[in-house]
């Protein structure tokens, strides 16, 4: 469960974020430069908000009031980048294993590289290097790498925008399937309203740092009622 309420001063406007997500996919939609990626980066810890609070599973990872700013590596957040950001000098297998927790610390001891590669249908690419695989395959590897860390929240920054139409449709279905299987909240940044509509249980529209909720799923409303 994610609860984030923060502000971030940007050169041309002040970004305000107020997000509450228990499960499902939250789609952040808006034009380029609206502050979508900044929201993800603040949640992940890649940028520091000017003020506010971010809680993951009731644990504060950032609080300006209490002076908390948990380092990125301890936040247990998966991050998938638009340009994949795979390590070019490592094979697919090594990329995926890079952030794997040591067995002793892992809450899910059955999670193996093979499981994840199989789940994402990239088992056959194990020994390939990123420059030998297609864009869609790279994005699957990027997803596998993020999931191997057993995150409590997955952030996807325009993960499908660099892909062709067919690959995009296939991966949209994969994301829905993965979310249902993994049962952690996903935040998906997209500039495509149709994609947001198709994947988002909750949709937040962002324009120059101001947000507007334009869709809330029944599942979300139900959770919200329970919390209140």
């Amino acid at each position: 469960m994610l609860k984030a309420h923060f502000e971030k001063k940007l050169p041309s406007f002040d970004l305000e974020a107020d997000i509450s997500l228990s499960n499902g996919i939250l789609a952040l939609v808006g034009p380029s430069g609206a502050g979508k990626t900044t929201i993800l980066q603040c949640i992940a810890g890649l940028q520091t908000p000017s003020q506010g609070e971010i809680k993951i599973n009731d644990k504060a990872v950032f609080s300006s009031e209490q002076g908390i700013n948990v380092p990125i590596r301890n936040r247990r957040i998966g991050y998938v980048f638009q340009d994949y950001a795979l390590f070019p000098h490592m094979t697919v297998e090594k990329n995926v294993m890079y952030g794997m927790p040591k067995k002793d610390n892992s809450p899910n001891k059955v999670l193996t590289v093979s499981n994840v590669l199989e789940m994402l249908k990239i088992e056959h690419l194990r020994q390939r290097y990123p420059n030998q695989i297609s864009g869609g395959e790279k994005q699957r590897v990027s997803l596998a790498r993020a999931l191997m860390t057993e995150p409590e929240l997955l952030l996807l920054d325009e993960p499908l925008s660099a892909l062709d139409q067919d690959t995009r449709k296939t991966l949209q279905q994969e994301l829905l399937r993965l979310q249902a299987q993994w049962r952690i909240p996903f935040i998906l940044v997209t500039h495509d309203p149709q994609e947001a509509e198709m994947l988002g249980d909750q949709i937040i529209k962002l324009d120059r740092g101001k947000q507007e909720t334009i869709k809330m799923s029944d599942k979300f409303n139900e959770t919200l009622r329970k919390i209140k």
Partner: protein
């Protein structure tokens, strides 16, 4: 022209190679550390820090030598300390290493810094979100991805260290068998009219520099292919 090799004292070769090798080792670590610090530092003193670290590249070697002399001289801050512990570096072989390190440092620092800054920031961000330490990111991501730059910086630093004349002469002097390096030997041989001897040293330093640069270029090229394009084989 003819040489009688038996008459030549090869001590300058040993002194130059020792100074260049040790200076390369020193600048390798200091240059990488400084490059890593400055490329990650976003404060307002970045320009000043970079300027200070690059200064030895643009200052005349005699100015560097003079500053080192002031620093390590009997009344200098480091000189006083060294005297207190019963030692001195002025006009001794460590002086040749110090001078060579100072002149070679900016080449290592600038080359490595530029390759660190060329790494896609998202790759570093991705590594950070995967829960690993900064130390592991440095050794497993930053260094391998900037390896061609690190290797190039090392070669340039070695070549510069091997060729230093002014700074070494100021702080090390030209004591034969102790601090007289090849560049100084060329100068003094030519000055005394012994052109054959000067030419021998010129040919020698030319060959050493060319061999080192060529070997490093082939090796770097091989490494780059191995690291980045391993999959194309």
């Amino acid at each position: 022209m003819s040489f009688d090799l038996m008459e030549i004292d090869f001590a300058p070769l040993i002194i130059s190679l020792r100074a260049a090798t040790m200076a390369t080792i020193v600048t390798f670590f200091l240059g990488i550390a400084a490059a890593y610090f400055v490329s990650g530092y976003q404060g307002k003193f970045k320009g000043l820090i970079d300027g200070v670290l690059t200064l030895p590249l643009v200052l005349p070697p005699t100015v560097l030598g003079f500053l080192l002399l002031v620093l390590f001289g009997k009344n200098g801050p480091l000189g006083k300390f060294l005297t207190a512990i019963g030692t001195t570096v002025i006009f001794s072989w460590p002086a040749t290493v110090i001078a060579a390190s100072v002149v070679a440092f900016p080449l290592m620092y600038r080359t490595v810094r530029s390759s660190f800054e060329q790494i896609d920031q998202n790759i570093i961000y991705a590594a950070r979100t995967l829960g690993v330490s900064e130390w592991k990111i440095f050794w497993k991501i930053t260094i391998p991805l900037s390896w061609p730059g690190v290797a190039a910086g090392t070669v340039l630093a070695f070549a510069r260290a091997l060729g230093d004349f002014g700074a070494t002469l100021m702080i090390g002097g030209n004591i034969p068998g102790k601090t007289l390096t090849i560049p100084a030997a060329i100068f003094f041989a030519a000055e005394s009219g012994d052109m054959n001897k000067a030419l021998l040293w010129v040919i020698l330093i030319f060959i050493i520099s060319l061999i080192v640069m060529t070997l490093m270029n082939y090796w770097t090229d091989y490494q780059r292919k191995l690291i980045i394009s391993a999959g194309r084989k």
